[in-house]
């Protein structure tokens, strides 16, 4: 299941895959993923995929397993919790023209990068 706040990802994948669109921020996506991981969904892709810093891109897409899986996912829980901590750290140096406040042109590029990273992972 793809958890995303990127409309380009929803458009590209909703016919093919289970997509949960999050009406909200990069952080809201991470929190949604955390909630799913805590009830047993496996973390499939790394939440900080790509080298774009969390205070630059407003978009985030993360893949988790469609269904909860039995067992204790300590590693996944640590990774998603650390990722939220990283996001909050970067948020302290918020940029007036980045994240949610990025220009429409920059947002288009950020949507494209987020989608293409996900695509190159899923198609590999």
């Amino acid at each position: 299941m793809i958890i995303t706040n990127n409309p380009a990802v929803t458009a590209a994948y909703e016919q093919m895959k289970n997509v949960r669109y999050v009406e909200g921020s990069y952080r809201d996506v991470l929190v949604e993923v955390r909630n799913l991981v805590h009830i047993g969904h496996e973390l499939v892709t790394h939440p900080l995929m790509g080298s774009l810093k969390p205070n630059e891109t407003p978009y985030r897409s993360v893949v988790v397993s469609d269904e909860p899986v039995q067992g204790c996912h300590t590693e996944a829980i640590l990774i998603i919790e650390e990722s939220i901590a990283v996001f909050d750290r970067f948020a302290r140096t918020a940029r007036p023209d980045r994240g949610a406040h990025a220009s429409e042109i920059a947002k288009r590029d950020f949507r494209e990068i987020d989608l293409s990273l996900l695509k190159s992972a899923l198609d590999a």
């Binding site: 892709t45 790394h46 900080l48 810093k53 990774i79 302290r92």
Partner: protein
Amino acid sequence: MKLEVGYIPIRDIQFGPTSKVDGNVLYVNQDELSRLLLQDEAIESVALDIARPGESVRITPVKDVIEPRVKVHGGGGIFPGWCAKVDTVGSGRTNVLKGAAVVTAGKIVGFQEGIIDMSGEGARYTPFSTLNNLVLVVEPKQGLAQHAYEKTLRLAGLKAAEYLGKLAADIEAEEVHTYETLSLLEGVRAYPDLPRVGYVLMLQSQGLLHDTYVYGVDAKQIIPTLISPTELMDGAIISGNCVSACDKNTTYHHLNNPVVQDLFAEHGKTLNFVGVIITNENVFLADKMRSSDRTAELCGYLSLDGAIISQEGFGNPDTDLIMNCRKIEAKGIKTVIITDEYAGQDGASQSLADADEAADAVVTGGNANEVIHLPAMERIIGSIDAVDHIAGGWSGSLNEDGTITAELQVITGATNELGFNTLSAR
């Protein structure tokens, strides 16, 4: 595997009617090189420019830096899988135009590529300010997708470096460096009392615009494997990474990997440099598990006493770095990790996205969030309007007088995680 690398020092680049090396000057026939590059139909135009150390020049947005090299003998050709067939390289003789580089520039994604200043404050932060750079500004045909533009620019850079490198084929080198890696058994016999040290080289492989290639193969599709360090010197690994200017490994870095150089310098004296293990930094957790498991297994198989692990990038690769470190240490092998930091503009925050108590020996390339001030330059090669958008810049980074206030991460190579940079606490 034994390789001789001959240095032909280049102290200046000039445009001229014939491409050649004369004395320590590299002459480039612009038309001939442009025609060669324009054979790629995806390219609309190519502009060639020269940036020399000390000049008031700013190059941006920088994609890759490549050192011109040529295979004189020993099988294979430079940049196997791209400019040459895939025959194994790393043996025989290679000549290098030392002090020269090809720099590729172009706005692939407007907010990620970096800056090279040839003088002033910024020049201190990038090793490429000390080189004579032939800059290729490549404009793509309209409508070319970003990933296709990346490939076009990547190939143009490699082709130009190959073209220049060939000029060094018949020139007598001023300095010759010899590097030799013994087979496993020979190494054990030759240095029975020296600690066995390996190098785990992590390659950026997160996907589009974040890729690295090994003999032409996308590194995200490799299983960690052994490679001879001299293969790196012949361009077996090249960069397709456009993201995170300060801590990406350009092709120049792979050719001149300082960890390899330092391990060779101590080889047979204080340690036995056993070899290089290359691994990747994929986005799937399953890939991370598999690759770190395989890497640790290889370290164990080689009976290493110590391993140096270098990273490329930030965030997602921090997890690979720590997994590698933890699993290799669990085999009783000491590790040192090389990384850089995003510790906030005040340097007070936690530096990495992941941590483990096994990671108790860390070398840092510096804090990428540090704020720097760059003076105006008389000449811009490329396009300056990207500065407000590149990582570490922000709206208003580019001041009206041409000065720039931004984070260190705007500078190409500033916090390189191989240690190929100039920052130091000394």
